[in-house]
């Protein structure tokens, strides 16, 4: 069997886990109530270097292999707060990814360096009220005016959309074109004309999800991220890593749910015996565990290929599709094991259940993933 994790990886996992147990776990309930994360936790992550795991050393990163990122995602899932995971993950994985790959030297100094330190927090704004999966139809415009661009439009469902310091925003620089008219920009939060409001959600309560409006926002032309008209391609490229990360989130949260459920099943009694003695319940655990292991090993195999530079659009879509579906199924069934307690906020499954539901929606809905896979399988699309 291929061994993916070395001793160094394992010891990183141990230290990251104890960091989370100490700095995060005791505060989760409060953050869920607040509907946002305090700035302080970003700084702590920054101090420990956790935002720079896969980033170049010259910008303060640790330049480690991508398995550290996998461990990061797996351990975050054990905190049982989809909202925490979303906010703490969207900053390095969405915003900083684009700056790292498409940013100019100046942009990297201004955003990547403080981003890795956790002193500046970012978000990635793609979705709009009338364009979710259909990215090409975004309507936010960036029109050149001398040395500036003027941005108008709105974005929604943006993780860290209210409280981040800077926004990586998808705009149409040529509204007459579809994908080819899309470019990326970095917009500072305090630029006049930027406003945002919080959205109340079914789950992911600890993260601020924002609706953002841009009203004649003027930014220097040097804030364009990457080349003009290339925005759609950049987004598609980085979707692979986001989807793989969401697949990891799916199986890792499922594993954690099984862990807490097994503990409960060993304590709870009904009809004079522990409920882990009932055949139907034992078989449910068996079935879920088998499926979780399959998805996990599939993801590991993809990361091994991804590390070698393979471009895995179809496979990453498959992983996210099955990983997030499996998480929904696992949470539904594990909650049932807790009976009435499963529905109560005091017990862990209620939050797991509502948080997991976003998995099949964010980062490309299951339907869009099926579209991508179908195009690859049926129409011979290669996605190179």
């Amino acid at each position: 069997m291929t061994k993916y994790f070395t001793e160094e990886h394992d010891s990183f996992r141990q230290s990251f886990r104890s960091f989370l147990e100490k700095e995060v776990k005791p505060n989760i309930d409060q953050w869920e109530k607040d509907g946002q994360l305090p700035r302080d936790i970003y700084k702590k992550f920054g101090e420990m270097g956790y935002f720079g795991l896969n980033r170049p050393e010259e910008y303060g990163g640790l330049d480690l292999d991508l398995w550290y990122g996998v461990i990061f995602d797996e351990e975050i899932a054990r905190m049982n707060s989809g909202g925490f995971g979303a906010s703490i993950g969207a900053h390095p994985m969405l915003a900083l990814t684009h700056i790292t790959h498409e940013g100019t030297e100046e942009q990297k100094q201004n955003y990547l360096v403080p981003g890795i330190l956790g002193t500046k927090v970012g978000c990635l704004a793609i979705t709009e009220p009338s364009a979710g999966s259909d990215v090409q139809s975004v309507r936010t415009t960036a029109i050149r005016d001398g040395d500036e661009y003027v941005i108008n439009g709105s974005k929604t469902f943006i993780t860290n959309g209210v409280l981040s310091d800077f926004l990586v925003v998808v705009c149409k620089t040529d509204p007459d074109q579809k994908a080819k008219g899309i470019s990326l920009f970095i917009i500072d939060r305090d630029t006049p004309g930027v406003s945002a409001t919080f959205l109340d959600k079914l789950g992911w309560r600890a993260s601020d999800t924002g609706e953002i409006a841009f009203d004649n926002v003027r930014i220097p032309a040097s804030n364009m991220l990457g080349a003009e008209g290339q925005g759609f391609i950049y987004i598609m490229q980085h979707f692979v890593s986001e989807r793989l990360a969401m697949a990891v989130g799916g199986y890792a949260a499922s594993e954690y749910a099984i862990e807490v459920t097994l503990k409960y099943m060993n304590e709870r009694e009904a009809f004079g015996r522990k409920i882990n003695r009932f055949q139907v319940l034992r078989h449910r655990i068996a079935q879920l565990s088998a499926e979780i292991e399959m998805v996990k090993q599939f993801c590991y195999s993809l990361y091994a290929r991804y590390a070698k530079g393979e471009y895995l659009v179809k496979e990453a879509s498959m992983a996210k599709l099955l990983g997030t579906q499996l998480a929904d199924k696992t949470m539904t069934q594990c909650l049932q094991m807790f009976g009435g307690y499963g529905y109560m906020e005091e017990y862990p499954l209620a939050r797991m259940f509502r948080d997991t539901r976003l998995g099949q929606i964010g980062g490309g809905t299951s339907e869009i993933l099926c579209e991508i896979i179908a195009k690859a399988m049926i129409d011979g699309r290669s996605y190179k």
Binding site: D134, D200, T332, Q336, I361
Partner: protein
């Protein structure tokens, strides 16, 4: 009015049903929906809403008019439950109060109890809850620990109950107590405890995954002195009384399931016609069409079964097994179908402002309360194999007897 894809609901077929439906719709539109957000914050609904329901004749629908009820058959109560669920309104907990608590009092209560409680229950001045579940016993009702000690002319009740629907706002609770610790199921009795009796305290409403406008809480009894006349039904017969009420309780959950799927479907049909993606309304996509076809089909199928159960219950012929089937299958269907509907809303489905998120959160408990769906399957299978297991037991006994005889 009725679309080709909808089953005629003959069980709701009369003029009176049509009029009643209007009253119900107006009640929820005018007296419930406008308060939703505030009730979600406070975790329970206002008393005035109960009084309004009483005024409109929505409480005690099947109860005898001499106690202030409407004296209608169960199909009207069924219609109300369905419509409430269609509106996605978790509160007020009319079904618990009106279709569970009131029938307990009316069918098993003494004249004293009926006269004391029923008129207030029908007007909305008195709200009742039912206390069965305890922290360590849910489905396993026989194992309850709350104990009512016989002190001659009164009882002293000690113990606690949990997950009590409308327990926080209720003025009284019918509490399942052990009156004889050694008699198993035969040692359970039902006793009314009034809120305000010394020693009877309530926990704060639980924070829950869903049903946020409806209060659920813990009840604590510490040396509560309860007069003897508060016994509902016969001493030691509490378990049997509860069993006889099960078919109706389970059917109410099935009714609520089909009602909420209807509501979710209506919202989803509307949304899929408005929302555009890739330059088309999303209902133009085959996946959307098939999903909606599935939801509509599942809904009508379950309506057919549930309507049959409603008719049987009105004739008092609904068996616990059939009611268990209705409860378990409808609530499973509800969760699956609402999940499919939510998915069609994309990102908006996760936003609390959109009703579909609420339908989703509210649905999940339907597979848990009123006996988990696992318990439903246990009941059904037990009945299927009852004869066989009895014969097996008899044969075993017989064999043991023969062995004993041979040994002698």
């Amino acid at each position: 009015m009725l679309k080709n894809y909808q089953l005629p609901r003959t069980v709701y077929g009369t003029e009176e049903h049509a009029m009643f439906k209007k009253t119900v719709e107006e009640y929820f539109k005018n007296h419930v929906t406008p308060h939703r957000e505030r009730w979600e914050e406070q975790g329970y609904c206002d008393k005035e809403t109960w009084l309004k329901a009483g005024e409109l004749g929505l409480l005690g629908i099947t109860c005898d008019p001499k106690y202030g009820g409407m004296g209608l058959d169960f199909s009207f109560a069924a219609m109300l439950i369905e419509e409430q669920a269609r509106f996605g309104a978790a509160a007020p907990g009319i079904s618990m109060h009106s279709d569970i608590v009131i029938p307990y009092l009316e069918k098993h209560g003494s004249d004293f109890i009926k006269e004391k409680y029923l008129p207030g229950c029908c007007s909305g001045e008195l709200i009742g809850s039912l206390g069965m579940t305890e922290p360590s016993t849910g489905s396993d009702v026989q194992a309850i620990k709350t104990f009512a000690e016989d002190k001659g002319d009164h009882w002293i009740v000690n113990g606690s109950k949990t997950f009590i629907t409308i327990g926080y706002t209720a003025d009284f609770c019918i509490v399942a107590c052990k009156t004889d610790k050694n008699a198993g199921a035969r040692g359970i009795s039902l006793i009314i405890l009034d809120a305000g009796m010394p020693g009877f305290t309530k926990g704060k409403p639980f924070k829950k995954l869903g049903l946020k406008t409806s209060d659920t809480c813990e009840l604590f009894f510490e040396d509560v002195k309860v007069p003897k006349e508060n016994l509902v039904g016969e001493i030691g017969m509490g378990f049997i009384h509860m069993m006889t009420e099960l078919p109706r309780e389970r059917l109410t959950i099935a009714l609520s399931a089909i009602g909420s799927v209807r509501g979710a479907l209506e919202h989803t049909i509307e949304y899929t016609q408005e929302r555009k993606a890739f330059k088309q309304p999303i209902c133009a996509f085959q996946n959307t069409q098939f999903e909606i076809a599935e939801v509509a089909t599942q809904l009508e199928y379950h309506c057919a079964f549930v309507d049959r159960c409603t008719a049987l219950l009105a004739e008092e012929k609904l068996t616990p097994e059939l009611a268990s089937m209705a409860k378990y299958h409808s609530s499973d269907m509800q969760c699956k179908m609402i999940d499919a509907c939510l998915q069609l809303f994309g990102g908006y489905g996760f936003i609390w402002e959109y009703p579909i998120a609420r339908y989703y959160g509210d649905a999940r408990v339907q597979r848990i309360y009123g006996g988990t769906n696992e318990i439903m399957k246990l009941m059904i299978s037990r009945s299927i194999y009852a004869d066989f297991f009895q014969e097996m037991k008899a044969a075993k006994k017989h064999a043991q007897k023969q062995m004993a005889a041979a040994a002698n």
